[in-house]
């Protein structure tokens, strides 16, 4: 709405129905974390009630989680916890939560390297819930070790990417990085240029790391397609040779197969756009 002087003012309706007040109880969504019985027993024995951790990899979103599932996760990893941050009615979930398309957020730990944790977050964590998600995640993980490294992987659409050349000239998908001041190391890709921003859960995690003065790096993949495709997952591959991920992985010859399988799983829903 333009005022008399021509400035644009957002116009809010002041009409209020009597019923509105009753429906509008503000629902504060909270996040809950559940740890496995093994871990709960372990926590009881640790003085400060937090698991020692040297490496934490958090993969947010289907592309990052798909990459982590194919190239980082292996049989040595077992589930130690799960984070629940609000299931929508439209979320597809199987009863045993094991289908690749399930919206779950599991925390894995390596049997060989017990202080390495991997969090695959396939749920959509809203911006309002990101703080409580972060709090819950770190409620039982101790990040005060001086060797602690955190890696956050996430993805975003190229339509959100602002640059002075057309985005198609940048050959999506492409990777960009952000890091905390404590992180000394050169990412294998460019830093995210201004005025682009990372928002939501990945930003919350990186901010938390910066405030706690720990080493953390965030990688964001800009992809063109709204559906999962193999290029958007494989674009993270250079990270397999970087700290901290390279200390965790074993070469997985089946990685590409897993990726193709995930693409098939997600692509079956794709008939709206041909």
């Amino acid at each position: 709405m333009a005022t008399f002087f021509g400035e644009i003012v957002p116009s809010f309706s002041r009409a209020v129905d009597d019923d509105d007040d009753e429906e509008e109880s503000p629902h504060v969504a909270t996040t809950n974390v559940r740890w496995s019985p093994l871990v709960r027993a372990e926590l009881l024995q640790i003085p400060d009630g937090k698991l020692p951790c040297q490496t934490l990899i958090v993969a947010v979103g289907p592309a990052a989680a798909g990459f982590a599932q194919a190239f980082i996760l292996n049989d040595d990893y077992y589930i130690v916890g799960a984070i629940f941050s609000g299931m929508e009615e439209t979320d597809v979930n199987t009863f045993d939560q094991k289908s690749p398309t399930d919206k779950t957020c599991y925390i894995y730990r390596s049997t060989q390297i017990p202080d390495a944790f991997l969090c695959l977050c396939k749920t959509d964590v809203s911006a309002e819930q990101s703080y409580s998600f972060t709090e819950q995640l770190f409620s039982c993980i101790n990040i005060e070790s001086k060797y602690f490294y955190m890696s956050i992987l996430c993805s975003c659409m190229t339509s959100e990417y602002k640059c002075d050349v057309p985005v198609s000239d940048m050959n999506p998908p492409f990777l960009r990085a952000l890091k905390t001041t404590q992180f000394v190391g050169v990412p294998p890709c460019k830093y995210l240029e201004q005025p682009n921003l990372v928002s939501g859960l990945p930003a919350q995690l990186l901010t938390y790391a910066q405030i706690k003065e720990v080493k953390a790096v965030l990688y964001i993949c800009y992809t063109e397609t709204i559906y999962l495709d193999s290029a958007s997952m494989k674009i993270f591959k250079p990270l397999l040779e970087t700290t901290p991920i390279r200390d965790l992985i074993q070469v997985n010859p089946k990685g590409d197969e897993v990726i193709n399988h995930l693409v098939d799983m997600y692509s079956l829903k794709n008939t709206m756009y041909l």
């Binding site: 050959n171 063109e224 700290t243 756009y273």
Partner: protein, 287 residues
């Protein structure tokens, strides 16, 4: 959530003179899989990548026949494509009924453009979310036209639309001068090679994931699917992939960087060295 206050509606201009809703509609075309159109002196062809079908349902067609002398390949919202192709079919039918001759392709395309334009200028409507590659043969010869949600249409020597179509366009630009004199088989082979460039290098074209449409002077528009694709796929079997194909796995895309350093002495230079503009992996070594 809106990115700015001028993109609520297709009837709203931004201060820069842009209509954001139309630009957003163009993004829908990129969500469709790649389609490609090529023409020689004698034929016009369409080559399209199909999405993997569900085991339970029949696959949906990417290339649609419109009339004996015209076919389209679609990229974008399937339902909008269906509507537009029905419209095109009735336009062609009307021409045959009224004038007893096939509708010239340029007139068909401009009818589609005019229909699409109405939706970009009316409150409460939305632009079509589909791009079409129209291939036809009429008294003027073979044609390839591209239409957009913006209601623009382009007469093309060759064109590719859809996801990762840039690789196909690059191939086609490189070989453009060869197409006019190609035989039909050579033309289809070029089309399949260009389409293959849109796929990651570990995935190949098969009879299940691509289809071809061909129209020529004495041949009606015909679509080749499944087993009928075998004759065309064998033309490019065993060939090395072009190095322009998108590298899915090895190497760093943004120039070579040092792997990350361990925690240790000194502050790392916050600005990584390297080319500002993405460079291709290597030049195509084609003849």
């Amino acid at each position: 959530m809106f990115r700015n206050q001028y993109d609520n509606d297709v009837t709203v201009w931004s201060p820069q003179g842009r209509i954001h809703q139309i630009e957003y509609a163009m993004e829908a075309v990129k969500q469709g899989s790649a389609s490609l159109g090529l023409k020689s002196k004698t034929h016009a062809i369409l080559v399209a990548l199909k999405r993997a079908p569900s085991e339970l349902s029949a696959y949906q067609k990417k290339i649609l026949p419109i009339d004996d002398h015209v076919g389209v390949a679609i990229a974008g919202l399937t339902a909008d494509a269906r509507l537009l192709s029905n419209f095109m079919r009735s336009e062609c039918l009307n021409s045959r009924y009224a004038y007893d001759q096939p509708l010239p392709v340029s007139r068909l395309v401009s009818a589609v453009g005019n229909k699409s334009q109405i939706l970009t200028q009316r409150y409460g409507r939305r632009p079509f979310g589909v791009g079409l590659l129209i291939c036809g043969y009429d008294s003027q010869g073979p044609h390839i036209y591209q239409t957009c949600p913006s209601a623009n249409y382009y007469d093309c020597k060759a064109m590719a639309i859809g996801a990762r179509s840039q690789s196909a366009r690059t191939y086609v630009e490189k070989h453009l001068d060869k197409f006019l004199d190609c035989s039909l088989e050579e033309l289809v082979a070029h089309g399949l090679r260009a389409l293959r460039d849109t796929l990651p290098s570990d995935i190949n074209l098969t009879t299940k994931n691509c289809s071809v449409g061909v129209v020529g002077k004495d041949s009606d528009f015909t679509i080749y699917d499944d087993d009928k694709m075998e004759q065309y796929l064998s033309l490019i079997e065993g060939e090395e992939r072009s190095s322009r194909a998108p590298p899915p796995t090895d190497g760093v895309q943004e120039g070579d960087q040092e792997p990350m350093q361990q925690d240790g002495e000194g502050q790392a230079d916050p600005q990584p060295a390297g080319p500002e503009v993405q460079q291709p992996e290597g030049m195509d070594q084609g003849p």
